[in-house]
Symmetry: C2
Subunit: 201 residues, 2 copies
DNA sequence: TTATACACGTGACAC
DNA sequence: TGTGTCACGTGTATA
């Protein structure tokens, strides 16, 4: 610095030469030398810690460390925003789903059913070659009745004289079943289908 | 540095003096002066950018900027983890709720119903002083039948000869209603209650 | 050799 | 007052 023609360099030369006279030779130390050392080491340590936090390191430069930290923070911020948005979306979905009916009621339904000695059941009886009568009992569960009705419809069965009763956590459905496409309805086949539908609900 | 008795200081003095001889006086510039200037400015700029990204600034020091960035990154990381956990929890809840039935079917239900000219309806007819016959039509919606049955039960009404039919996005329920606690059942009162139950579902 | 990054000691400045 | 922070120019090591 002392050989550059800038103003600060001139000042430096002046003071240094003054100092040099005081200290005679090779003994002068700046007053803030230790403080400056501490400062430098502190910054270096922090940068090292910062680097350890950032997963993607492109280079070991001080500037690059900070640069990577910047992009990482930006990524984290956008991630937080995206996750928050997703949570809001999920929460509104859940509210629509629940619509004031906590899931605990469903659990209680199965327990209450068991308490009253009611068990899930499927009965199928033949009326004539193209018509069956069914009677099923299952635990109350939100949407189960509709799901059952839609499952039967999607399998090509038409329900008539359907009777629904819910009591003590259980739902009882009795109905006549007619095949829309086929005229032959096997009892055992229908029983298995009903079991399958209920367990999948 | 040139007045400190360290090895590097000795080397510095040596080379400087050599250079000084070449440059005569006050004209010597280090070869990497510009590069060093650029490097310092780059790091400073990055630190400034980093500071602008961190919301909580305790101090303007370089070390403090990095320190704040560190705590901010740690906070962001834990936030991301917490949000991810919450999303997983919400998603599993949603899966339990939905159990394989997308909500779009519900929306289509109302549309299909309208397409076929079916409208929501509530009819109440008196059978005798303690018995009413009801017939309601509403759009298919997961859990609506169960909710309706439970709402009626919680209002102290007993359903008998209940008949449920679902077709073209609509659910039709016809049933006899008997009051468990009171023997007087007003037709208009029941109609309003049913409307209230349906709109709240 | 050249180019790049770093640590160093220092003067200036702020509080 | 001194204590801490900064930018500066430099020598050196690495590639």
């Amino acid at each position: 610095m002392e050989y550059v023609g800038s103003a600060s360099a001139e000042a430096f030369i002046t003071q240094t030469r003054r100092r040099r006279v005081y200290d005679e030779n090779r003994e002068f130390k700046s007053k803030n030398l230790d403080a400056e050392r501490r400062r430098r080491q502190k910054l270096s340590d922090r940068l090292l810690t910062l680097r350890s936090l950032v997963p993607i390191i492109t280079n070991m430069n001080k500037a690059t460390i900070v640069e990577d930290a910047i992009t990482y923070i930006e990524k984290l911020q956008s991630t937080v925003k995206a996750l928050s948005d997703k949570i809001l979306e999920l929460e509104s979905s859940l509210e629509l789903e629940e619509a004031g009916m906590p899931r605990i009621i469903e659990i209680d339904a199965a327990e209450e059913m068991k308490k009253h000695g009611i068990e899930e059941d499927v009965e199928v009886t033949n009326i004539d070659g193209s018509k069956l009568w069914i009677r099923i009992i299952f635990a109350n569960k939100r949407g189960r009745i509709t799901k059952f009705l839609e499952a039967m419809a999607s399998h090509g069965f038409e329900l008539s004289d359907t009777n629904v009763t819910t009591s003590k956590g259980a739902t009882l459905i009795s109905s006549c079943v007619k095949g829309v496409y086929s005229y032959k309805l096997e009892v055992e086949q229908m029983r298995e289908l009903l079991q399958e539908i209920i367990t999948s609900m």
